[in-house]
Amino acid sequence: MGTLFFLIFLIGCNQSPSHQVTESPSDQVTQSPGHRVTRLPVQRIISLAPSITEQLYSLGVEEKIVGVTIFCTHPAEAKIKEKIGTYLEPNLEKIVALKPDLVLATESQKKETVKKLKDLGIKIFVFKEGETFKEITEQFLQLAKILGEEKRAKRIITSAEKEIKKIIARDKNFFLLKVFLQLGSEPLITAGEDTFLNEMVELIGGANIAANLGKGYFRINREKVIQEDPEVILIVSMGETTEKELKAWLKFKNLKAVREKKIYLLDADKICRPTVTCFLEGLGTISKLIR
């Protein structure tokens, strides 16, 4: 159950990197990075993704938010906002009733929902979610441009980049530690290239054993992990099954990670949103653990 919830959460953090959705002309237009984005005068915003909600708060426009999903729990203040349904099934009636100027969604949102909102004459903007830090910042900037808060966003990004440099400098002198990132229990799921978890690991000098096995999130065989014999195992928490997984790994007494007791649990909540702040936090946490 925890896995399912986490995976649904992960949907908010990921999308398959292969396709680009292009929308019809006028204001509800493309979001592929690089295109001109016009600024819109907005007073009432509805967010259909937790990551977007968090970004809105960090841009300081929280008073304009009139609706969020029930999964938008970061920051804590977002919990008091009016709910428009689940992440997967936003309630169209509620959205219409709230009279938004702008609805913000990510590409993981159902196409039908997006189309229906457009048919109802509601402005909706769909973001390609970022995986790498570069993509995350690009998407953040896009959002900021729409809301006219570019300066603020740039400030946040610059300060985050400084922090990241600090962390890298501090931890750069480590020998390459092999890391295994575990995100799912049955089946075992890991993060490969083009994921922010992978990037975080590589930034601080670690080597993700799954980096050259594929892109995005995919299944991995436990035997393969054992073969690679990582020095660190990072398990992203999945509810009750986390304990089970921990015990499962401890059985393999010959693994380096088990011998040196370097199996760590990461709080999915704290680490897994494609926003700048979250990336920073996550990076900090991982670097502390791996050291």
Binding site: L7, I11, I70, G85, L88, N91, V96, A97, K99, E112
Partner: protein, 332 residues
């Protein structure tokens, strides 16, 4: 005769009230007066007008049509299989539709976007209809042959669906699972129009042929001696009803129980003559699904319960009460 008239008048009245209720009730409650104002002004720009015209009206119409279609076809399948426990999904249509939906979502959603689910699930359903027709024809379309073909194909298709689930990346299947539980909100308006047309015309044809269905329930020997060729008779009903069910499933997913409960209930009320039973079930199914859907989207607003859950629960409870209390339940 008087009893029949009374029944249909009440059913029409109930249908009308349920329809109005479905427009009034919801997260945003609308008063009756407000509703009348909104309905008289299709071009209204305010949120309430949008909600009524663009969200509730299409959805209620679909609920009405799908409920009516499933209930009518439930009666027909029970008739040609000569079994009161048959229901529209017994003959494997749901398996094919699910497989079509899953394949469509994975391979074709980029091409067809919005329309991929209804289209691919309809094609999947057609495919399973074709297979069942072919296999059952080898057994002269007798009830056992039909049921076996349907059940076997259903299992086969479901296994493929599960196989795909096991292989695909997990984030893909949330849409499919929600569809599998029944979703009256997903269909685009054009699809709703097409489906309504199919269901109504199919229904009219079925009523026209309904006396033949009575005769078919008497068994192959008696039917032949009364001038009805059993094999071709069953084929016509099978094809008509399957097409209607395919239209229902491809626009609204798998909504369980409507096709089993409603026929049963009305068989008890109107007797089992199909010229009366089919229209009664049509209206009754529409009412049932309208009310179930209204509950599904209102109880824990703004979160929606899949409508198949509501029909399953209500249907199951009613069935149980019915079964325990009914003394006439000898032959079933």
């Amino acid at each position: 005769m008087k009893r029949k008239i009374l029944l249909f008048v009440s059913l029409f009245f109930l249908l009308f009230s349920s329809f109005i209720a479905s427009l009034i009730l919801g997260g945003e409650k609308i008063s009756l007066r407000c509703l009348l104002t909104v309905l008289s002004n299709p071009a209204g720009e305010n949120p309430i007008s949008t909600i009524v015209w663009r969200i509730r009206l299409p959805r209620s119409l679909l609920a009405l049509m799908v409920g009516a279609g499933l209930a009518t076809c439930g009666c027909v399948f029970q008739g040609i299989l000569r079994n009161p426990l048959a229901e529209p999904y017994t003959l494997g249509i749901s398996g094919g539709a699910a497989l079509g939906a899953v394949l469509g979502e994975i391979f074709f959603s980029h091409l067809l976007g919005y329309y991929s689910l209804p289209l691919t699930s309809f094609l999947g359903a057609l495919f399973s209809i074709f297979l069942v027709y072919f296999f059952a024809s080898q057994k002269k379309f007798n009830p056992t042959g039909l049921i076996l073909s349907g059940v076997i194909l259903s299992f086969l298709f479901s296994s493929f669906v599960l196989l795909i689930f096991a292989l695909i990346r997990p984030e893909r299947f949330h849409t499919i699972i929600l569809w599998l539980m029944g979703d009256l909100s997903a269909a685009p308006t054009e699809i709703i129009r097409i489906v309504s047309f199919c269901i109504i015309s199919g229904f009219v044809l079925l009523v026209f042929l309904s006396r033949k269905l009575d005769i078919l329930t008497l068994g192959e020997e008696k039917a032949t001696s009364l001038g009805v060729e059993p094999e071709s008779g069953k084929k016509i009903f099978f094809l008509l009803a399957s097409l209607i069910v395919s239209a229902c499933v491809s626009s609204a997913g798998m909504i369980a129980f409507v096709g089993l409960i409603v026929p049963h209930f009305f068989r008890w009320i109107t007797g089992t003559e199909h010229p009366t039973l089919l229209p009664a079930a049509f209206l009754g199914g529409a009412i049932f699904l309208l009310l179930a859907d209204t509950c599904a989207r209102t109880i824990i607003y703004p979160v929606e319960i899949p409508v198949g859950v509501i029909t399953g629960i209500i249907g199951g409870i009613f069935f149980l009460i019915f079964f325990l209390k009914s003394k006439k339940w000898k032959i079933f």
